[in-house]
């Protein structure tokens, strides 16, 4: 299981870098989908198959489809590609990348010092739902109310 985790994690990191450096927005999106799927595999290898599948259904399957849907409407041509390329100049990304590298170094240090052993014990669908509708039922209800509000306002905007 650990080898699976490391492979999936590497894929996730590499494809996320791909998302940032790709100048073609459709290619960037494909990398993003790949990254989300890799994260789903990471979840699976850590013993959370339910979350893994939900990640694939909700993020990779639904939200990214909507992203792609919007991009289809935007009529990206060659000039957007060229524009995107000029935006990727080294002087623009050097500073943020350096700062991010500092954070990464810190993160690695922390992970090294406070080593937590990951013990994959599988959390099945039943356990997840028991938790959701047990101790966390209030949060679930609040989230559903938020979604309902979003739904109603989207309907209102669409009717206008």
């Amino acid at each position: 299981m650990m080898i699976l985790f490391y492979i999936a994690a590497t894929v996730a990191v590499v494809s996320t870098v791909g998302v940032i450096v790709q100048s073609n927005i459709v290619h960037a999106l494909i990398y993003l989908i790949l990254s989300l799927l890799a994260v789903a595999v990471v979840f699976f290898s850590l013993g959370a198959p339910f979350v893994a599948v939900l990640e694939a259904i909700v993020y990779a399957g639904a939200i990214m489809v909507l992203f792609l849907f919007v991009i289809m409407m935007l009529n990206m041509g060659q000039h957007t590609l060229d524009q995107e390329k000029t935006w990727m100049a080294a002087k623009d990304w050097a500073l943020p990348a350096g700062l991010a590298a500092i954070l990464l170094a810190q993160l690695l240090y922390v992970l090294r010092e406070y080593r937590v052993d990951i013990v994959p014990n599988e959390v099945g669908v039943l356990e997840v739902s028991a938790l959701l509708f047990g101790p966390y039922v209030l949060a679930v209800e609040l989230a559903s109310i938020l979604l309902l509000a979003g739904l109603v306002s989207a309907y209102h905007l669409a009717k206008k």
Partner: protein, 318 residues
């Protein structure tokens, strides 16, 4: 090598058979359409035209595999591969018979739903990368249709899940030993049937690839084997939906003992495939907005109601 779930022999045979059956469906569909339209269909190549598939394959493999110079190469090549991969992986969780299957997964149904939702990318990337207005229109339609119908495809299944108490397709089949779920879950069955056809964009819901309106939609620019992969992918989707209907509502491999279980599965699944072909022969294509309205304003409330009533009955009877 042993004959058990997940053995390499099992995986190889299932993979080979599924692709073979999907390819043979090209012939089956044309013969059945001919039967229902008072003509014969292909009957020249080989015995009853059975080698028609081989002839088609030879043609499709030797055709020029053309990538338009204006297309986005990466997505263009990726798109037909996605649909084959996604649907073939979905077959991994289908329990064909006791001891026949690839994985015995606890999240079987969810896995199929996840793969089905990824299938939308094939159509969308294919249409978007072709850089062609008909392909783009087809992709737009496909995206809206597949995302919408996924929603109540999932919800309509939850009645079955609630009754059997498991996401595991094998356990769902075993739970149907004392009665197929078609009877308590008839509404769920009808909704899943409709959503399944829309999801595999078969006629009458083939709006993304409507030949008469948008010149076969998202695969307008595809030729040769790339088109062939879309084509076979569609038939694979058909087999997948038929297998799912069999497993979820018609008791999978269960049946009287005079035939082995795998035959019962095959007979039921073929019945559904024939029914899909009959739908193609009989029902005209709805308009695009009719399809969406029908889905969101009729099927979605109905599937929610079905889930609610099922849940209430289970609570009361327990």
């Amino acid at each position: 090598m042993t004959w058990e779930v997940g053995s390499y022999l099992n995986i190889g045979v299932i993979l080979g058979l599924v692709i073979f059956i999907a390819a043979m469906l090209i012939w089956v569909e044309r013969r059945l359409l001919g039967l229902w339209q008072e003509r014969l269909g292909p009957n020249r190549v080989g015995w009853f035209g059975l080698l028609q598939v081989a002839a088609d394959m030879i043609k499709i493999f030797t055709k020029e595999d053309w990538i338009p110079p204006f297309a986005d190469r990466m997505s263009f090549v990726l798109a037909p591969a996605i649909i084959m991969v996604v649907i073939l992986t979905s077959f991994a969780v289908i329990p064909f018979a006791p001891g026949v299957g690839v994985v015995d997964s606890n999240i079987g149904i969810l896995f199929v739903l996840a793969m089905a939702s990824l299938g939308a990318y094939s159509v969308m990337l294919g249409g978007l990368s072709s850089d062609n207005k008909y392909a783009l229109l087809g992709a737009l339609r496909a995206a809206a249709q597949m995302v919408s119908y996924e929603v109540f495809m999932g919800i309509s299944l939850l009645g079955v899940v609630a009754l059997s108490g498991s996401f595991n397709l094998r356990e769902i089949v075993i739970a149907q030993s004392d009665g197929w779920y078609i009877f308590p879950q008839f509404i769920g069955f009808v909704i899943f049937l409709i959503a399944g056809i829309a999801e595999s964009h078969r006629l009458p819901f083939d709006i993304p690839e409507a030949e008469q309106e948008i010149c076969s939609g998202y695969h307008t620019e595809y030729s040769g084997m790339k088109f062939g992969m879309f084509f076979v992918g569609e038939y694979l989707g058909l087999v997948l939906i038929a297998s799912l209907l069999t497993v979820l509502f018609f008791g999978g491999w269960l049946g009287p003992a005079f035939l082995p279980p795998i035959f019962w599965f095959a007979i039921k699944a073929f019945g559904f495939i024939a029914f899909f072909i009959l739908l193609r022969a009989a029902i005209p294509r709805p308009r695009y907005d009719q399809l969406m309205t029908y889905g969101w304003l009729f099927l979605l409330p109905l599937s929610l109601l079905n889930l609610l009533v099922t849940g209430a009955i289970i609570l009361v009877t327990q």
